[in-house]
């Protein structure tokens, strides 16, 4: 059994996984050898040909994840990746772990059942902006509020890639696409605001091309006990190319990106010219660093229990991506659903171990004799 922080320590064998499942695992270890936890990126790859468009941001994310996962020290067979439908949701096929490529929008629900019944596993969800926020919006918010132990990677390319380029719930207003020739009318979701609003215990954001930043957010998300949501800005070079160039371009990126580092003052921009200070009504606003007193500058604290701070942070950015905080917005500890469920089972068992015969008979029986 692995002891990585991402996976619950089960303590006594058989407390959470049923004996037969545990036996199967033990049998496999007996024939296949000990669980391998010293892995390399190449061990995470499958023989399946990757089928994304050349240049798609999904490739860089896949590479980053394949390089990062071995560092968790979790055996491949203890990881499960569940995805929905969309370009991004092809992800599990390329990972040498257990995986399920499910149906549109439902991955968080499927992963919830798996993670709640198998707290010994490291469960990941891969989803897209349409998958997670449109058809699967309901499952996402409920997964977040429940805090089942799993990590959700939301690949946000602000477009429906797989269905060839309709606008998505994160597309900016006025987006001209095949389904909106005169521009889209509806206001987009800010996925981080949505997640914080759903009381998510962990919310982060990263850029596909920023290997270092992405890996750091993934690490913290993986270490988090409970549901972690990581929004990954992902370039769809076919239907929404350059969507994040404002933040990627070295000439504009630093100006509009607010790096979130726990314990550090929120100062950013060329020469640290900009900063984040408190605003009226509990909000935050951008200020020029030389115009404010150092004590006014907000020091980032991802562990604040009250979600209003993380929410205010998420509201700094507009739909045109100016002033976009990147990093971990929120990471708070709360009991996880799967753990509490396991505890209830344990409590019920110790109270009165299940006796099937007694259960079937119930309280009121009568006997007919021969």
């Amino acid at each position: 059994m692995t002891t990585s922080p991402h996976v619950h320590d089960l303590g006594m064998p058989g407390t959470s996984i049923d004996a037969n499942i545990q036996q199967a695992i033990a049998d496999s270890v007996a024939t296949q050898g000990e669980k391998q936890t010293a892995l390399k990126a190449k061990d995470m790859k499958t023989d399946q040909e990757v089928r994304w468009c050349p240049g798609c941001g999904d490739y860089v994310i896949l590479n980053a994840v394949q390089s990062f996962l071995p560092s968790l020290g979790i055996a491949r067979e203890d990881m499960v990746i569940v995805s929905g439908i969309g370009c991004s949701s092809r992800f599990p096929y390329y990972m040498n772990t257990y995986g399920m490529h499910s149906i549109h929008g439902r991955a968080p629900a499927i992963a919830t059942g798996l993670a709640a019944s198998r707290p010994d596993l490291s469960v990941w969800v891969v989803t897209g902006d349409g998958d997670a926020l449109s058809i699967g919006g309901n499952h996402l918010i409920h997964a977040l509020r429940r805090n089942v132990n799993m990590t959700i990677l939301l690949f946000n390319n602000r477009i429906y890639g797989l269905t060839k380029g309709q606008y998505s719930p994160t597309s900016e207003v006025g987006k001209v696409t095949k389904s909106t020739p005169m521009g889209s009318l509806d206001h987009p979701f800010n996925p981080v605001s949505l997640a914080v609003g759903a009381d998510a215990t962990f919310v982060g954001r990263a850029m596909d091309s920023d290997r270092k930043g992405l890996t750091e957010v993934l690490r913290q998300a993986a270490e988090h006990e409970g549901t972690a949501l990581v929004e990954i800005y992902q370039n769809c070079n076919i239907f929404n190319d350059g969507a994040f160039d404002l933040l990627k371009d070295s000439s504009t990126g630093p100006m509009w990106t607010i790096p979130l580092v726990h314990g550090q003052p929120l100062v950013f921009g060329p020469d640290g010219a900009s900063c984040v200070v408190r605003d009226d009504f509990g909000g935050l606003r951008i200020a020029e660093t030389n115009q404010v007193d150092a004590s006014e500058i907000v020091v980032h604290d991802a562990t604040r229990e009250d979600p209003s701070y993380a929410f205010a942070l998420s509201r700094l950015s507009s739909q045109d991506l100016r002033y976009t905080p990147m990093g971990v917005f929120r990471a708070v500890r709360k009991p996880t659903y799967d753990r509490m469920m396991a505890d209830q089972l344990e409590e019920a068992r110790t109270g009165s171990p299940g006796d099937l015969g007694a259960l079937l008979a119930g309280n009121d029986t009568w006997t007919v004799s021969a």
């Binding site: 996984i17 037969n20 199967a24 496999s28």
Partner: protein, 647 residues
């Protein structure tokens, strides 16, 4: 037979030496009707328990409004509970009541039409006030205006007698009045010689934390019993002897309860944790409630955000090695369709329970129907076959749940279990099975590679099927060296990799169908009840019509005619011999609580001219009506060539 202890009330030895006679009956149907707030369901359940423990055979039909509390005293607010009990084996809750207990004018008005002339009405006269009469359009009091002359009417001031009995308890009028259902239960318990200590124990248990309420209810119950014994209003009490039953230990059980226990038992017999993902919906919610109480058996219940998450979570749990279960009713099945297809494609075990209710859309939530059969069979995109099975009585829901789990686990497939509102809420005596006699459902998880790559490296092929069952191996996450990916995209045969190859899709589509069809070899032959073996007309049914059809067949046989009853538990696949069985009969009648869904399947599949007889009233068939329909068919069946001896 245990009566109440002679109580302290002096009246227990009848004043004036009233001689009470006892009449023996072989069966009685009682309908208790009142306002939804009057506690009729509880009263009915208690009377049922008393009757069960006395040893009668019984069958119940609760009937309540969809509204939690419709306005008091109105027709939509009427809730009723019908109980049929007998000294012999019975199959239905009875076509019509012999006795109607009406707690108010609305209850009388709503139910009188079902009471045959000469039947007994017991009414709470206190409630027949001008105001209550007006609410349901009675211009004059039917208890007094002679309009009930065709029935026997006993008007009893149930409310005021209850208040009188409880006057020293210190309870307020409103509170005390609530016990009138227990007063009524006491009276009925006396009338039918029911044992009473079970109810006393029940009330003590139920109101453990409110001893004064327990005491008041018990006092009202006793007062009702004693009233029966002393009053001149009831000169007769009735005795219905216990029914001969196979030796064994019995309990009373409802369909939802039995189904839930069947699922717990299935998990235990499979050695797998049960995971239920469900979203509340009438009439299925009680299964969720029941299962959530059995955590000590490793049962995890998850109240999902919707039905899609209900099935999704269950399928996720199945992927992890659990017995995944999702329970719902028709509207929920509609929402689950896409995920059912995923379960078909991923070939994971899953039990999907549909407790059918009436109508399309929201329909009749608290009424019964069998109209989801074709949805269960075909309600998915693509060719997505799955096994469909249906229980035939409340107690049978236990065995059907075990059978659904057996097929799901053995064949790695979603299985649709079609219960209905009548089975769910109806109750009957149930022989408690011995745990050792339950089927062994243990499964083998795959723990070693079953194939090799071109260079000889061992590899796991998740879609390499068992040649016998065509089931694919079930390797659960955590199993070393067996990592694999499954999903909704078409799978390549054996390897399970994504495949768009036309020939492969054709093959896989046929394999999935063949796997389900093959289950026919693993289920019992068609259940045919043809006592003489020479009936020429057969009645075929599935699910909860078993009781009414069976009762109808008995009536027909008593009339000197011959008829066969064919009952299907497995609808997908059908039993292997079903076509031959059907062809043995000149005429086949198929009564259904839908517009002919099984008939459509049978005609399509076997080219047999099945005659459909349908009703969608939200209520079970009446045996007498069914018998008349079938009798007409029998009487109009002229000898055919096959019996005329052309051979």
């Amino acid at each position: 037979m245990t009566a109440l202890e002679p109580s302290t009330t002096p009246g227990s030895s009848a004043p004036g030496g009233l001689a009470k006679s006892v009449v023996a009956l072989d069966r009685v149907v009682i309908r208790l009707a009142g306002d939804s707030g009057d506690g009729m369901q509880l009263t009915g359940n208690r009377f049922t328990s008393e009757t069960a423990s006395f040893g009668n055979d019984l069958s119940t039909l609760p009937n309540f409004p969809a509204e939690i509390r419709a306005p008091t005293g109105t027709l939509p607010g009427v809730s009723s509970f019908q109980l049929h009990f007998a000294d012999h084996d019975i199959m239905t809750p009875g076509d019509a009541p012999d006795v109607l207990v009406a707690m108010n004018p609305a209850a009388l008005r709503a139910n009188l039409g079902d009471l045959p002339g000469g039947g007994l009405v017991i009414a709470d006269s206190d409630e027949f006030t001008p105001r209550n009469l007006a609410k349901v359009g009675y211009a004059t009091n039917p208890l007094e205006d002679g309009s009930l002359d065709g029935w026997q009417v006993v008007a009893v001031p149930l409310t005021s007698m209850t208040l009188e009995a409880l006057k020293d308890t210190g309870l307020g009028k409103k509170e005390a009045e609530r016990s009138k259902n227990m007063f009524t239960l006491g009276l009925l318990s006396w009338m039918y010689h029911r044992p009473t200590e079970g109810t006393v124990r029940f009330l003590e248990r139920q109101f453990r934390r409110k001893p004064e309420i327990a005491a008041a209810n018990i006092a009202a119950f006793r007062a009702g019993y004693n009233y029966g014994e002393t009053t001149e209003a009831f000169a007769v009490s009735y005795e219905i002897k216990p029914a001969p039953m196979a030796p064994g230990r019995y309990r009373n059980i409802s369909g939802n309860q039995a189904l839930a226990l069947g699922l717990v038992a299935a998990g235990q017999r499979a050695g797998l944790p049960v995971f239920l993902g469900a979203y509340p919906i009438t009439p299925a919610s009680d299964i969720l409630h029941e299962l959530s109480r059995h955590k000590s058996f490793g049962v995890r219940t998850f109240q999902a955000e919707d039905e899609i998450a209900g099935i999704g979570s269950a399928l996720g749990a199945s992927f992890g090695g659990a017995l995944g279960v999702t329970t719902t009713s028709g509207p929920g099945v509609s929402l689950k369709s896409e995920a059912l297809g995923l379960a078909v494609m991923t070939e994971l075990p899953l039990v999907v329970v549909d407790v059918q209710r009436g109508g399309p859309s929201t329909g009749l939530p608290t009424k019964t129907e069998q109209s989801d059969l074709l949805q269960a069979m075909f309600g998915r995109n693509g060719e997505a076959p799955l096994p469909v099975i249906a229980p035939r009585s409340p107690g049978d829901c236990f065995d059907a749940a075990l059978e659904a789990a057996r097929i799901a686990l053995k064949y790695r497939t979603p299985v649709m279990l079609l219960s209905d509102g009548y089975l769910a809420n109806g109750a009957e005596p149930w022989a408690v099975p011995d745990v050792e006699d339950l089927p062994d459902l243990s499964v083998d998880f795959a723990t070693e590679p079953n194939g090799a790559t071109a260079d000889g490296t061992p590899e796991f092929l998740p879609y390499l099927r068992d040649p016998q069952t065509l089931a694919r191996p079930w390797a659960v996450p955590g199993t070393a060296g067996m990592q694999h990916r499954i999903g909704g995209l078409e799978k390549a045969d054996k390897s399970g990799n994504i495949s768009y190859d036309p020939a492969n899709h054709d093959l896989m589509t046929r394999l999935r169908q063949a796997k389900v069809d093959g289950i026919a070899a693993d289920i019992p032959a068609t259940d045919v009840d043809d006592p003489t073996g020479s009936a020429r007309v057969a009645v075929i049914g599935w699910g909860s019509t078993y009781g009414p059809i069976g009762a109808a067949c008995r009536r027909i046989r008593r009339s000197g005619r011959e008829v066969a009853q064919i009952h299907l538990r497995h609808i997908s696949p059908f039993p292997a011999d079903l076509g031959d069985v059907l062809r043995r009969y000149d005429r086949v009648v198929c009564p259904e609580m839908n517009l002919g869904q099984l008939a459509l399947l049978l005609r399509a599949r076997y080219l047999v001219d099945v005659q459909s007889h349908t009703q969608v009233r939200g209520l079970p068939f009446r045996a007498a009506e069914l018998a008349a329909v079938v009798q007409d068919v029998i009487d109009s069946t002229t000898p055919t060539a096959s019996t005329g001896g052309t051979q």
